[in-house]
Symmetry: C2
Subunit: 229 residues, 2 copies
């Protein structure tokens, strides 16, 4: 069924380890390889054999370290969300950062991050819609263990700032949820839709790069404009 190729970086030494290039931490090598394969093909489409080849080991080692494909999938999902969400929450939840500055920083952070890991959002959202257990995993990750106070905290902070700006007549009335959805939509959607956009608009890589640079620059004003009354 002719699927996409996995992004190269065959035996790249991503992490830090003494050895010139060989062993490095095997478990880490496997996790890195799994990350790439799961990102590119999704959990259902990923093959243990491909991950083994990508990691430069045999398939049995995958089971030695991770027991089963499901466990490996969980580990990859955990790492993916850890890479993406905490920095975002740190910015959004910081009450010392004003609204305008906050929007700018989030836009820049998201576009920079996703430029490096373009498959990430499609993978994450696909996982969340296809496997209900990932939702619980997400919650668990955000909290340590118990029902989250992290997100409510962020929402409260943002709400306070929105209300203040609204009182000053700078923006229309809106909920923090709507605000966050707007910001995320504008930042993330183009990455998920990239193949469609390239097809519809007959774009090459250069035009894509140019779009990203333009939106990185203009999105903060566009989003703030969308909030004005």
């Amino acid at each position: 069924m002719a699927a996409v190729r996995v992004a190269g970086k065959a035996a790249g030494k991503a992490s830090a380890q003494p050895e010139p290039d060989r062993p490095a931490d095997t478990e880490q090598r496997i996790l890195d390889a799994a990350h790439r394969v799961f990102m590119a093909r999704g959990t259902a489409g990923a093959r243990m054999q491909d991950i083994a080849r990508e990691a430069g080991v045999n398939q049995a080692l995958l089971h030695y370290y991770f027991r089963s494909k499901e466990r490996l999938a969980e580990a990859v999902f955990r790492r993916a969300t850890s890479d993406l969400l905490p920095p975002l929450i740190a910015i959004l939840g910081d009450p010392r950062i004003g609204l305008r500055d906050k929007v700018t920083r989030v836009v820049h952070h998201e576009i920079d991050q996703l430029s490096r890991t373009p498959y990430l959002p499609g993978y994450l959202l696909g996982e969340l819609s296809q496997y209900p257990q990932r939702g619980e995993q997400l919650i668990a990750l955000l909290t340590g263990i118990r029902p989250s106070t992290v997100v409510p905290g962020v929402l409260e902070t943002v709400e306070r700032q929105l209300r203040a700006a609204q009182r000053k007549g700078e923006i229309r009335a809106t909920t923090p949820q709507d605000f966050l959805i707007t910001v995320m939509s504008m930042c993330i959607f183009p990455f998920i839709a990239r193949p469609m956009l390239e097809t519809l608009f007959q774009w090459n890589d250069e035009q894509w790069t140019s779009l990203l640079a333009r939106r990185r620059r203009e999105l903060p004003e566009i989003i703030l404009g969308a909030l004005r009354r």
Copy 2:
């Protein structure tokens, strides 16, 4: 690996056919069933056996009508894009519809359509990132056969309208591609991100419905606000 359940409507008579509820056109029943299963689990995660059960026939019949899973996947993809894109193009490409009206109509159409088929965008964009051949299928569908003039036509029309509005000082300078990406981001992203939003915000169905109604009402103004200089 515990995947999502396929949306019910077990033997629902979606199309038009004389028979009370039984045979109906078998090929159509299979395609409907395949549509539901592919939407919910993606092509890689879909199982021919599940589709057969969903259609109330045996697995051999699937091959009798569609030859292979790949062919069936193509048929589903074709139908999905046919449902989604042409109406959108009809609105966007119509030069008689003014910019403001156009945004409103697109927002309403998209949110109404996706409320009925919430899996559609996630499925489509997932397919397009995972199987390069879908891009060509998409092009072929938009044109009949040869390199498309449909999308360029839409872009030209929209660009003319954007330029006119810009000359009148109503909006900032922007490309039709940026404009369309903004509109699509705002309409489509929440549907792809729904499981994440429900998890992060601890939402139930009612709160989701309420969000959709609110955004259906407010998005046109928000988007037009985003365009203002």
